[in-house]
Amino acid sequence: MSALEKSTDPTDTLDSNDGQIENNDDTQQYLTFLMDGEEYGVDILSVQEIRSWEQATSIPNVPDYVKGVINLRGTIVPIIDLRTRFGIVQEEYSRITVVIVLKIKTSKGERITGIVVDAVSDVYSLATENMRSPPDVSSHVNTDFIKGLINVKEKMVILLDLDKLLDIEKIQTKIEE
């Protein structure tokens, strides 16, 4: 790619014929990560940091996808395994297993939560207008936490609604129901 074609945004190095377009007011940057071959995206502004996996202290009597809590420079941060959360087969944590530390807004103010994913993929600038809403599937699959689907490089990226995904109280009541 020649220098002329380069966009101002270093992350935006591809043709803008699919979901990904040049950075303007209507675009949002998403950090994407891989899990079981699928690519998921979260709003980059809610990402606080990316860490390698470290052993967490387990919390008694919580759903199995809550791996426990870690000490993040003096703050106690819960770690949630997204594989287990999505019901994907658990894999051994490896060297490239990462924890994305997210700052999410909930009904009770800001919370910091870490999610365990297979690997971090990329950062895209995506236009919200190109986003498709998730298909209505059967009622027993909860798609509340999916913000939408979008095409990037002929691949589908699933954009997640973190506030819904990680609002622990809501998760819990859902389970109880």
Binding site: Q55, A56, T57, S58, I59, P60, N61, V62, V66, G68, V69, I70, N71, G74, T75, I76, V77, P78, R111, I112, T113, I168, E169, Q172
Partner: protein, 687 residues
């Protein structure tokens, strides 16, 4: 230059509330037969600073009201008037009223002035009667200004203001040029400075002011608005404000005092309208909780930080050219560092500590009012008011204490005739005391009333199905039942209706603070409620225990003993759980690995250790694999980023940086109880 005063609002309100507390306490302490002038003075000073402050911040509704109070107090102070019981009542009412006004202003609401106006009229009525001479004079000064405020001139002309500040005016922090700027905002201002008094430059004292001004102001504003600008310098200067009509007729304002109450109130309404306008402006200021710290605490903190810096530089130097011979110096340095850190931690904790008098101080008033309504004679005694307690704990203990004090007054202490018949002093005594015991603070609420009616409590408990008739309980256990949910003390001891809050709420609140509450009662001699609270909520002495791979922390205070289990003394009760016979007691055994679902080293009771703990007067034993070290841990909230977890009161960070859960003993007992029941159910279903 304009200063945004709103940044000081928080401090102002805090000071006002403190001032109100001072006033209230002063009034309550006042002995009407022998009035202590120092007390009156302190009340007066508090009222004065509230007035001054509220004036500065533009809360003139408060300032006006306090002014009337202050005038009357000033008369009492200078012994022109006497204070009587009604007077004290009236003052107390106005303290309440002011508090309400300030709360409303603090919350940026429209202040409700009905009560204030009513009280003000009462005060004015008192001021109006008697003592025509001096008192009238006091009124003059204020009333004159108020009368004049009405004066508005629509015709052609201007205000001539002759402003002669006393030379010392600048020393009091007033800046005349600022006043002139304010005037200039009101209209067209013509300033003429008179510098005839100005001394030679060599003789000039820069801290004195020698300039006089003649100002010509063309404005639509009335005289009141002009004199308001000079309000703060009126004592330090000579000011005359004259209307110069340009049709050459000169009108001088005559200073004739008129005492018409109508005028006064209408003026006040004017100024109040102004205030409400100011208040209604929404200001998105973030309220932050603040804390007042004694200077010596801050000083010691600074000293300690100083030492820390020295230790750091010492270690730094050591690290620059380190060799193995100097390893002992390194160790010394590290020990010193540990010392410094611990001391620093302790002093930081001390900053959060406040004397419990902050909480006790509300009781004299409460007791006074309540004994009045209940027609009882009650003496309140306070002791150990200087005992220090964590601010958060103090805030949370306030309501439960009020509840218990009310209970003691209402149900505990008898009416004077009953007391007389029982051969007791007619006046009952309520004692509030606070003291340290071990790592705890103890608050005792003691009354010399009738004590709890144990028999009635027992009947009630049986009626409610809390205990069985066959249960053999001693008196203390029965009395403890009043802390059970749904057990209204009002039903038990008197017919006075309950207030919707039971003692179970009291106990729950105290338990939330990891404290305990118990009651001791001797029939006919009174009852004592004993609240035991941790000194602080932020740090805890912990015992590290290991279950399998997990490390948990048990609060050291809850541990009674740790023993090796002898199989011989273990009995299986009803298949559900096991108890250990320990001396004369049967102690239920809770297997932490079952409750928390972790894999222990061994499931054999004899392989582990039994830690006997006490929570809410219940003793239980936890089976753990290993007792590890004891250490102080800093409590971190799990709820901040997660949620409350049953059986866990928080988390902490251990020396190696990992997180460990702090166990909540009462919660665990409850949790294991629930699990036992569900286990039993499961067993039944299977059968």
């Amino acid at each position: 230059m304009s200063i945004d005063l709103s940044q000081f609002h928080q401090v102002f309100f805090e000071e006002c509330f403190e001032g109100l507390d001072v006033m209230e306490n002063g009034l309550l302490e006042l002995d009407l037969d022998d009035i202590d002038s120092e007390l009156i003075n302190s009340v007066f000073r508090a009222a004065h600073s509230i007035k001054g402050g509220s004036g500065t911040f533009g809360f003139s509704s408060v300032a006006d009201f306090t002014h009337v109070l202050e005038t009357l107090l000033d008369d009492i102070r200078s012994e022109k008037r006497t204070m009587d019981k009604q007077g004290v009542d009236l003052f107390l009412l106005s303290v309440d009223c002011l508090r309400q006004l300030l709360h409303q202003l603090h919350a940026k609401e429209e202040p409700d002035l009905d009560q204030a106006n009513q009280l003000k009229l009462k005060f004015e009525a008192i001021l109006a009667i008697g003592l025509d001479g001096e008192v009238a004079e006091v009124n003059d000064v204020t009333d004159v200004n108020k009368d004049d405020k009405l004066e508005v001139h629509d015709g052609i002309g201007y205000w001539e203001i002759i402003f002669k500040p006393h030379p010392e005016i600048v020393q009091t922090g007033n800046e005349p040029s600022r006043l002139l700027k304010q005037l200039a905002v009101m209209g067209e201002l013509d300033v003429e400075a008179n510098i005839e008094n100005l001394p030679d430059f060599t003789a000039l004292d820069p801290e004195l002011l020698f300039v006089k001004w003649t100002l010509k102001l063309r404005t639509k504003e009335n005289k009141g608005a002009i004199s308001e600008i000079f309000e703060w310098v009126v004592d330090d200067s000579d000011i005359t404000i004259t209307w110069i009509d340009e049709s050459v007729i000169q009108e001088t304002i005559t200073e004739n005092p008129k005492d018409t109450a109508d005028n006064i109130t209408s003026i006040k309404e004017n100024s109040e309208n102004k205030v409400t306008k100011k208040v209604s402006k929404p200001k998105a200021s973030v309220e932050s909780q603040s804390i007042r710290v004694a200077t010596d605490k801050v000083d010691s903190l600074i000293n300690m930080v100083g030492e820390l810096v020295i230790t750091q530089s010492m270690l730094g130097q050591l690290g620059k050219d380190f060799s193995m011979e100097r390893v002992h110096r390194l160790q010394e340095g590290l020990i010193q560092l540990e010392h410094n850190t611990r001391e620093l931690q302790e002093s930081v904790m001390r900053i959060r500590m406040l004397p419990i008098s902050f909480s006790f101080n509300r009781f004299p008033r409460l007791v006074r009012d309540l004994s009045h309504t209940l027609n009882k004679k009650i003496d309140l005694k306070l002791s150990g008011e200087n005992t220090e307690l964590d601010k958060t704990v103090m805030e949370k203990i306030g309501d439960p204490m009020v509840h218990m004090v009310r209970n003691s007054l209402d149900h505990g202490i008898e009416t004077p005739d009953v007391r007389k018949a029982a051969g007791k002093n007619e006046t009952g005594t309520l004692t509030l005391s606070a003291y340290h015991q071990g790592g705890n603070i103890i608050i005792e609420i003691n009354d010399d009333g009738a004590g709890l009616n144990t028999q009635k409590i027992k009947e009630k408990a049986i009626e409610k199905g809390l205990i069985k008739e066959s249960d053999n309980l001693d008196d203390d256990k029965i009395n403890d039942l009043i802390f059970q949910p749904g057990f209204s003390t009002a039903d038990v001891i008197s017919d006075v209706s309950g207030r919707g809050v039971g003692m179970d709420v009291v106990r729950r609140n105290i338990t939330e603070l990891s404290g305990t509450v118990e009651v001791k009662s001797v029939p006919g001699e009174g009852s004592t409620f004993k609240i035991r609270l941790p000194l602080t909520l932020a740090i805890l002495d912990g015992q590290l225990v290991r279950v399998g791979k997990e490390i948990y922390i048990l609060p050291l205070v809850s541990i009674v003993e740790s023993i090796l289990v002898d199989e011989e003394f273990v009995n299986n009760v009803g298949g559900g759980f096991e108890v250990l016979r320990l001396r004369e007691e049967y102690i239920p055994i809770i297997k932490l690995y079952d409750v928390f679902g972790v894999e222990p080293d061994s499931r054999k009771l004899t392989d582990g250790l039994l830690v006997v703990v006490e929570g809410e007067n219940k003793k239980v034993g936890f089976i753990v694999d290993e007792l590890m070290e004891q250490q102080q841990v800093v409590i971190k909230s799990l709820e901040a980023n997660f949620q409350k977890v049953d059986g866990v009161s928080g988390a902490t960070i251990l020396g190696d940086g990992t997180v460990a859960m702090i166990l909540d003993v009462p919660g665990l007992i409850q949790l294991s109880g629930i699990q036992l029941i569900s286990n039993l159910k499961a067993g039944n279903n299977a059968a």
